[in-house]
Symmetry: C2
Subunit: 330 residues, 2 copies
Amino acid sequence: MTAPRYDLLCIGNAIVDVIADTDDAFLAEQSLDKGSMRLIDEAEAVRLYDLIGPAREVSGGSAGNTAAGAAALGIRTAFVGQVATDQLGTIYRHDIEAQGVAFPVAARGDVGATARCLVLVTPDAQRTMNTFLGAAQQLDAKDIDLAAIADSAIVYLEGYLWDPPGPRAAMEAAIDAARAAGRKVAFTLSDSFCIARHRDDFLRLIDQGRIDILFANEAEICELSGQSDFDAAVADTAAKVVTLVVTRSEQGAVAVRGGQKASVAAEPIERLVDTTGAGDLFAAGFLAGEAKGLSLDLSLRLGAIAAAEVIQHYGARPEADLRTLAGALL
Amino acid sequence: MTAPRYDLLCIGNAIVDVIADTDDAFLAEQSLDKGSMRLIDEAEAVRLYDLIGPAREVSGGSAGNTAAGAAALGIRTAFVGQVATDQLGTIYRHDIEAQGVAFPVAARGDVGATARCLVLVTPDAQRTMNTFLGAAQQLDAKDIDLAAIADSAIVYLEGYLWDPPGPRAAMEAAIDAARAAGRKVAFTLSDSFCIARHRDDFLRLIDQGRIDILFANEAEICELSGQSDFDAAVADTAAKVVTLVVTRSEQGAVAVRGGQKASVAAEPIERLVDTTGAGDLFAAGFLAGEAKGLSLDLSLRLGAIAAAEVIQHYGARPEADLRTLAGALL
């Protein structure tokens, strides 16, 4: 097996974030569950956009954020996701390529508009996401370059991709191609509601041994395992994957591999602005550590450092120089 | 004369800012004058965009920023500028209307793309702007609702509008309509290079007594008057307008009216992030004070408070609640 072309190839929904400040009263009025992600159609996207305040547009999407973070840490990274031939699609491509991520997918004119996520940030820095998938849901198995996947040390997938049928089939094909080439498959559970929608599929992937590295947060690991006790939920799932990584917000994160458990404290921050992308950047740091062959402890540290950077500003991609922040770890 | 419908009507280039971090080496390599604004065509906009890092898109445009700031201070405000029927045009309209500004101009499909400004921010928080005017330069005298202008206590214009011929003619018509209705005309000189391009026109407007409130910064007032001495430049121009307001960055600002001079110190800030919009928001605060009938001193204070807010984050429109920051002043 020759050295792979990419350290990391991420597949996900290519989404531009539309970030606006809001308050708890507005979330209540609109019956939105704080901290969750819900899927909306174009009409609802237009309706809600008309109601929110002035916004900032920044490229996002869970796996896209992870790709941007990994590239910022110096990892050779590619991203696969579908955008349309519109201005938001141009913005999406610019941002991810400018971050140093290869983006070998052509924009299409027959897939509706580029996806966008209305991210409503409350004063407590929590984000409530409303996603119109648009072009992103038109990613098709035939758009996946299986040779590129076989040539990537780690393939990383977001649970959100299970929502639309096209990307779901593309993911299954990608997992098979990666495993056939002896590569690692990493997967994030994405969101509790997403797990509720796709628990059977996610458990099937795990039980079949097709996931090497599984990412979750506390709510997600409990939701997946059906256990309300955190330690029991972790033990339950850790037995089924090679590596389990669970983020715990201000309590840091834990990882379990081969019966060994490691943990990291949350990195100190100056001010909490917007938690969007915290999990995505934790994954970026951890996977960068994996790609570099670091220990579980050091990979967790890299995850904590990358997550701490992204929650101190609006937007889900790094703005400060992550390699400088990582210092001697890389 | 009945009470006007708007306290302030701003006319300007409707521009979406594309903000990216850069360094001095890149500016040197591209022969860009730090701190200045230059006009570029679509090809150069595409070329430069390909070279810059990941960006944030936020609605901007000098007079649009002033309108957003004034509305945030509770002033009844309208904005007139031209956008296209594209995604950036939709974003522009959303943001200014969501800020509470009336935007009575229809998007057009026959004017090219919505204008954008590539704002390159160096580590010293200075911004270097590269503007593709696109649809904004198609604003035409016939798009100006003269009845709305006659129904606005203050009409505010940006010097940048003198660059394209259509908006230039629209401005002349707007000034005449405002003066005929007994309204005040406010004008910002915008940029030293802009003055160099249009000094004769700007001096003509001033000498004809068609400008009531003139905004400038130090470099601009010196450029306009051809005086290198700041005090001499101020004295020279103050004699020709009812009110002259000159901002001086970290040294605060001065205003002269009817031989009376007032000054304000810069408002203390926690951290300087991006100076884009500092002058625009100073004008917003000052004009809000004027609209409320405040003293020259208090209007300057409002300007300093609004400018201080906007330089502490990326983007040229307020994010914090300006009315709270203004407190008892309003």
